[in-house]
Amino acid sequence: MGLLSKKDAKLISDPLADNNPITIQVLGICSALAITAQLKPSIVMAISVVFVLGVGNVVISLMRNVIPSKIRIIVQLIVVATLVIIVDQVLKAFAYSLSKELSVFIGLIITNCIIMGRFEAFALGNGPWRSFLDGIGNAAGYGLILIIVGFFRELLGSGTLFGFKVLGDPVEKTGLYAIGYENNGFMVLPPMALIVVGIIIWVQRSKNKELIEEH
């Protein structure tokens, strides 16, 4: 990478794999359960979080020397809330149908612990450019898991991807359904997201033994 130094590139690549916010730090699980029943909301949620965390990290980083430490959590909360409201309003004005599909989820970004976590742990102690990379990297790591989980849950739970019937029609009994395949209704329920995340964690840790905690 010519544009980024090795250290900076690690800020993006680390959270995608070996320091993933969901599978390694186990943060942001709540929204990963709630919105991954279908692929499309997962992707829009991922993009929104990339925006909020990228911009938020920069804003916090720029203000890091003037934020009074006593009220820093409140200040962080205000920054997230402001960004989320702006995203919500802009979607409502320019992409109304999309915003209707996601309104609840967009609001829920405020409660995503990854965002507050990165503000507190990184942006308060680093410059704007590095904070920006860190924000994008962590949000992408989060989004990646959302998309993987959303893919499997929609495919196995409803037999569709982006709403298209990729496995055939369950009512007309075409495609896979003709030979007796059935959708797994469990997959659309939130607990199965936890199990899918668990499987991802298992696969990741069996590939990279260093990630396994000793105690």
Partner: protein, 250 residues
């Protein structure tokens, strides 16, 4: 940095400045975007009403495609011949009936028993047949559900449109899918002259919906409470219009 960020006075001043800046920013955004959001909401209502009437851009068997926002106003004026407001026995024409907030009306009627609800009704002409479209609103599992129901003079359904605020994707949220909404077409609200409603029923043994006289449509698996919500919503809100239709058929 020379500023002592630990001082109380600094903290208070910082908080005040922050609130003022954020407040101004958000207020600016909200009022700047408000006209667009309002217009979107209006178009959406018109699109939904037209959808219930069967005026849409559906191509494939699973599409739920509205008339595009750029054309919806024109189409709306073309199909909707009259907008009525029914208040008790009084029926008046009102070109802005579609802007009546039926949630507010319902709340007010609940609070004040002497208040008679304003009921909007849209009269449309499609294929030289009069169709009446009613708004409905109720509760799903998590939040509000609402929709529009188009019926003919005998209260036989010509089409419906349902929407929801936050039903579970893949389960309750499926009420806005074609395979659910299309089932309603042809069903009857009346049974031998009396109002019966249309039940979203689990065991009606009619998944293809061939029987349109049973006052039942097939329910969605895994979405019992949302389905019951649809049943209750239709019973509660469509019933209000029964006197009007009785008058109409006299």
């Amino acid at each position: 940095m020379a500023i002592n960020t630990d001082k109380n006075s600094y903290t208070v001043i910082f908080a005040i400045i922050m609130v003022v800046v954020v407040g101004a920013l958000l207020a600016g955004f909200a009022s700047g975007l408000k006209p667009m959001i309002k217009a979107n909401e209006k178009y959406e209502k018109q699109q939904n009403i037209l959808y219930a009437l069967g005026v849409n851009n559906n191509e494939g068997p699973n599409d739920v495609e509205f008339i595009p926002t750029t054309e919806v106003e024109e189409e709306f004026n073309k199909y909707i011949t009259k907008q009525l407001v029914i208040q008790g026995d009084e029926v008046t024409e009102n070109d802005e009936a579609y802007l009546i907030d039926i949630k507010k009306e319902e709340d007010q009627a609940k609070k004040d028993e002497s208040y008679t609800r304003k009921l909007p009704l849209f009269v449309a002409e499609k294929d030289s047949k009069e169709v009446y479209i009613m708004p409905v609103r109720g509760k799903g599992l998590w939040d509000a559900i609402w929709g529009f129901v188009a019926v003919d003079k005998s209260m036989t359904v010509q089409g419906v449109y349902f929407d929801h605020k936050g039903e579970t994707p893949g389960l309750g949220a499926e009420i806005k899918q074609r395979y659910f909404m299309d089932d309603f077409t042809g069903e009857k609200f009346l049974d031998g002259g009396a109002f019966k409603g249309i039940d979203v029923a689990k065991g009606n043994n009619d998944p293809k919906n061939e029987d349109t006289t049973d006052n039942e449509v097939d329910a969605l698996a895994g979405a019992t409470i949302t389905g019951d919500g649809v049943t209750a919503m239709l019973k509660k809100d469509v019933r209000l219009y029964v006197p009007y239709f009785k008058n109409l058929n006299k």
